[in-house]
């Protein structure tokens, strides 16, 4: 939480996460190179570099697919939440894998004294109108620039500087980068290398990301419909005991805003479902040590007023709640962040 900014806020869990991540990348690339060297050793230096390009390229594609799958997976099954905890480091590592993939590509041209051909390939304007023969490296280059921008602004400082909505919007560009990478592979290596592994990898990765997002979105929409209208425009949540103790029920306001209604014993409070940190789904979190705790990165807020405990300064938008005829209702008009609005019911 933001009482100050350090280079990297490592803790034991993050170190374990990063260690596993790095080991996974090293193992994948090592296994890929070893397998190909064993089956069909490269005959010259450009072929050896080409092998490295493919090893790092496929690794980056798998990493991007996993990163984009973590969000919907965690929404569908809470057991995937630990993967979400340090997703930013996953993204930064992916950028470095893509950077190495691109640098090997430049090296491939350099060892053949053909760097001007790379420049010509990227700047041949008529080729951008073709389907077969499209300068697919340009797509990869744009994806690399997007990943750089995301890695460079991944620090919490930029989150505060840019504000969470802008920061999150910027980081949604990962979907654009993924689309560009899919096109980069489909218009590039798939056109001249007919190894069935490539289209299989591309199709399964893309299908996995698409299906997971559709299913998670469908589940969320089904939940939205549960936000029934109560009296005077207030939203009916249900009897107090229908809200899990130390947990929340999420209802949707008429404008689409999701509201998380938490219960801690006899105390009930409602907040915007967006965590002040990275706009994580706070309503999917739990009350730990008396504080509402975001499932993504553990940011905590007091139930009574949505303020992070001192010395931290984050605040959530709160909503008025009441119990009418044994039913918890929430006023969908938001209060300024940090306004005390929780109630006690008997």
């Amino acid at each position: 939480m933001s009482a100050g900014f350090r280079a990297v806020q490592w803790n034991r869990a993050k170190l374990v996460y990063d260690g596993i991540l790095l080991a996974g990348v090293v193992l994948y690339i090592g296994a890929y190179l070893a397998l190909v060297y064993w089956l069909d050793p490269p005959k010259d230096q450009p072929a050896a570099i080409d092998l490295r390009i493919r090893a790092f390229g496929t690794c980056a594609f798998f990493m991007l697919t996993v990163i984009l799958s973590i969000g919907p997976l965690a929404r569908l099954d809470r057991r995937f939440l630990p993967l979400l905890y340090n997703r930013r480091h996953f993204g930064v590592l992916t950028f470095f894998v893509v950077l190495l993939h691109a640098s090997f590509m430049v090296e491939w041209y350099a060892v053949q004294n053909a760097l001007p051909s790379l420049y010509d390939e990227l700047t041949k304007v008529p080729d951008y109108g073709k389907f077969i023969g499209f300068p697919f490296k340009a797509l990869g280059l744009v994806a690399l620039l997007i990943l750089f921008l995301m890695a460079a602004t991944s620090h919490d400082y930029w989150l505060v500087f840019l504000t969470p909505p802008v920061w999150k919007g910027l980081h949604m560009a990962l979907y654009v980068a993924y689309g560009l990478v899919v096109m980069h592979v489909a218009l590039g290596v798939m056109q001249y290398d007919h190894n069935p592994f490539i289209p299989a990898m591309l199709a399964s990765g893309f299908a996995c990301v698409t299906v997971l997002h559709l299913v998670a979105g469908w589940r969320e929409r089904a939940g939205d419909r549960a936000g029934a209208r109560g009296s005077e425009g207030w939203l009916s949540v249900g009897p107090p005991l229908s809200i899990p103790d130390k947990g929340a029920r999420i209802v949707a306001a008429p404008d689409g805003e999701r509201i998380a209604v938490f219960r801690d014993g006899t105390q009930i409070g409602a907040f915007s479902n967006l965590c002040a940190h990275q706009h994580g789904p706070i309503g999917e979190g739990r009350i730990i040590d008396g504080c509402v705790t975001c499932p993504w990165h553990g940011y905590q807020y007091r139930l009574k007023d949505g303020c992070a405990p001192p010395p931290f300064t984050e605040k959530l938008v709160t909503y008025r709640v009441r119990v009418a005829h044994g039913v918890v209702e929430v006023d969908p008009r938001p209060l300024p962040p940090g306004t005390p609005a929780a109630i006690r019911h008997e």
Binding site: G4, F5, R6, T123, F148, L149, A152, T153, H155, W158
Partner: protein, 64 residues
């Protein structure tokens, strides 16, 4: 060639402005004051280079 030249100029301006911002302005633009360690300033450097026009605008606004 023009694109490459523009990129080089953008990066050169970004390096100069990012360095000055990270030394003098990094804590001034925050909505609430918070310390930024030397390590954090180094990590923030690539982002400040990439976003330098916006960083400069925010820094100038905070100085007024």
């Amino acid at each position: 060639m023009i694109v490459l030249l523009a990129l080089v100029l953008y990066a050169a301006a970004g390096i100069a402005i990012a360095a000055a911002f990270l030394v003098f302005g990094v804590t001034r633009v925050l909505p609430e004051p918070a310390p930024v360690t030397l390590g954090a300033r180094i990590v923030l450097f690539p982002g400040a280079v990439a976003l330098w026009p916006y960083v400069l605008i925010r820094w100038l606004r905070s100085s007024r």
